[in-house]
Amino acid sequence: MSDEVTIEIDGRPLKARKGQMLIEVADAHGIRIPRFCYHPKLSVAANCRMCLVEVEKAPKPLPACATPVADGMKVYTRSPKALAAQKATMEFLLINHPLDCPICDQGGECQLQDLALGYGRDVSRFAERKRVVAGPDLGPLVATDMTRCIHCTRCVRFGEEIAGVKELGAVGRGEHMRITTYVAHALRSELSGNVIDLCPVGALTSKPFRFRARPWELIQHEGIAPHDAVGSNVHIHTLRGRVMRVVPHDNEEVNETWLSDRDRFSYEGLYAPDRLERPLLREGGALQETDWALALERAAARLREVVAAHGPEAVGVLVSPSATLEELYLAQKLARGLGSGNIDHRLRQGDFGADPAMGCAPGLGMRIPELERVDAALLVGSDIRRDQPLLGLRLRKAGMRGAEIAVLNPVDYEFHFPVAHRLITDPPGMVRALAAIAADLVRHSELPVPPAVAGLVEGARAEERHAAVAHALRRAGRGVVVLGAQAHASPWFGALRLLAGYVAAASGAALAELPFGANAAGAWLAGAVPHRGPGGAPAQPAGLDARAMLERPCRAYLLLGVEPERDAWNPAAAARALGEAELVIQIAPWLSEAGRRWAHVALPAAAFAETSGTFVNADGRWQSFEGAARPPGEARPAWKILRVLGTLLDLEGFGYEDPEEIRRELRAAVEAAPEPAGTVAAVALPETTASLWRVGDVPIYAVDALVRRSRPLQETPLAVEAALRVAPATATRLGLAAGARVRVRQDGTQAELEVVLDRRVAEGCALVHAGVAGSEGLGPAVGPLEVVAG
């Protein structure tokens, strides 16, 4: 039997799929039916009744959002009966609506306002008192004006069905019903801002944007979000050259219709007080404002001096994994033009042993929407929900459909999907556990085992729980092994990477590599790694990786968009290296306290939304964007700064007219380069034993310079400071009391931290966040840690 039916809407014969709701069919054909509660991504609630339409032979009007099509159905959306029903609904909705549009932020983009114009009466017949509802305080991101709520429950359904944390509910009944958390608390979801878009009225609006501008004053620009590997498509709204807000731009292939709070609210950091507006030069010990010509000339001259005195290898270039493709390409071209191979974007990576065997660029190993359809997943060192919020959402969909998801983590992160297998262990234990999973696969797979992997698997014993994970991956029609940020921070990342590569290959799963940054893939393609040039061709000359550049210090550093005191794997080593360097040139939108101490030349760069460029996302999708806002003061796009610097250094090929030209050059290089095919003979293995391991993950709102400056995000419950988070058993063993302040030592560095009991942390580990206040003075993100005294 065919699944197709023919119906007629407003006299137009239309084909539809059986079971589709009337409203979907109408939408697909551009027939507009008014609605509030219906949303294509949410379940059908049919509670607003705005979508009532007349259906032939039905005695009463029917809600189009909850009426499945049937063959031969005749529907009238604008007949007198339909219109009367729609108008009556509108009248009822407005009875308890305050009609305070002049002071409502939603004004101008309000569905209620729009539809009231079409379906409302001029004068209200309701003369009685309207209800007033006090809005709950939902924290720094979402403002509430609950008197305006029309109880469509979109926000409630979003929490329950999409975000996976139901925080808002419909409390009370009838006229007393209100949307609230009931017990006051700030929203904890990493996706909470989406309720702002979903709310059809002005009940839930953006708190940071409150009363800042009217929608019709704003200019809308397209952009790409700068914080994770999704590359969410956004609309940037500006007023007189300043970014006023960021909202999602639908793209089913990338972010659907959603946006993470990090991508939505990070713009608030743009105009932070430490924004660099003019070039600075260190003169007689102090940084002084200067003009561009002098700053650039001096930067070039000093770089030349260092090269002349110590050779080009004395120059190290550290670039942000969220820099644009064009910036990254020029930065590596500049380093290599000087004769230095020291360029890297992987500041948070702990081990580079697998470098020769790495692919062309890290990515998901599949299209983003395909992640929704995996049957099994193994997360290795990944808090995918906070590190890559919208990939977490895709994986949640798979999980809710029954995918068997396993996690191998040092912290038992709270996920919004069911976890079938939990392997929670310390950093060396993670390598052993992954080797055990690989060992089980060796027994079941014909695939030749690469020598380096054979070395790792040798002696590994697969217990039942390891075999169960291997089995899940093998059995899955479509599986994925995810190497997350915590895996990259491991001092044995090389081992994890090789093992994960083997586990994926032997079980027929995809390998997803998800390091930090919006453009890690772009950085690899652009050649911002020490061993590969643009497109992945072997680099000439090869140089030092990010960790080595800071641990075996260089004489001169060029920093592009990074703050090593927060962004480096080993901030203590970074501070030492940069503090002692002869020359530090910082190209960045902001200059932190630490940067102020060590920079010799600071060149103000355009930030997110202010520059054109390209990000390559986890899909391998090149997403280019234009500048939307004016950089403040004299700040300039970094690609232009690099272009001038290259020219001043008399390097070849820096005469670009526009980023398009840079892109073309890089594209040609990518197309020409052969697929990398290196191998690794052996990688470092954990041999150190420690009585306590530091696990330094980076909290969601600490990942880069922009989010760290967004005040609203820093005020959410998800923004945390460094503490010594240990499991109760570990605390007992070490004699640590909750709330006590203790001194910890790591690699010759010290810090004072508060003891917090945290059941999620693996036994023998201490979760001491990286990238946040309180841990800047410490060493490696992952490594032995010692508690000195209470």
Partner: protein, 174 residues
């Protein structure tokens, strides 16, 4: 009478016997529909807590049934049989809907307000009675005017009959 034990930090753990009663209801639903027992669980907990629910108790129910706390608040605030603030032990609902109104329901309510010294919606200071705000039809129209005290219906009321009923209740209560 208790439903739970303090655990510190504003959390409570449901008593053994309360859990056992809830389990009795949980068993009636498929395992993945554990949440369906929420209504019964709240009724049981309210009963053991002297007639009303508290946030820590609702949270404990949420935890026990593995659902989000706000889902429990939704249910608890929806049903008028569940109370989410401290009220008296005996819940009195007087019907003042059409049939009862025609047969003197409002007079019954006024009489109760006088006798108890509280208005509808309030509890007596001794914590014995809670006179609920107007209830919709109690579905006892044939015996109008009607009222309900706790789980028991009383019909064809007169002020004298009401006094008798309360006197008896107070005697039994001791």
């Amino acid at each position: 009478m208790s439903a739970a034990q303090e655990q510190g930090g504003g959390r409570v753990a449901l008593d053994e016997k309360v859990r056992a009663e809830i389990d009795d209801w949980v068993r009636r639903y498929p395992p993945e529909r554990r949440r369906s027992a929420v209504l019964a669980a709240l009724r049981i907990v309210q009963h053991h807590n002297g007639g009303y629910l508290t946030v820590p108790l609702m949270d404990a129910v949420a935890e026990y049934l593995d659902i989000e706390p706000v889902s429990v608040y939704e249910v608890a605030t929806f049903y008028s049989m569940l109370e989410t603030r401290p009220v008296g032990r005996h819940h009195i609902s007087v019907c003042t809907n059409v049939s009862c109104m025609l047969r003197g329901g409002e007079e019954i309510l006024a009489h109760l307000e006088r006798r108890l010294g509280v208005k509808a919606g309030e509890s007596t200071p001794d914590g014995r009675y809670y006179l609920k705000r107007e209830e919709e039809c109690l579905a006892a129209c044939c015996g109008a005017p009607a009222m309900q005290i706790d789980h028991v219906y009383y019909e064809n009321l007169t002020p004298e009959k009401v006094d008798e009923i309360l006197d008896r209740l107070e005697r039994d209560d001791g």
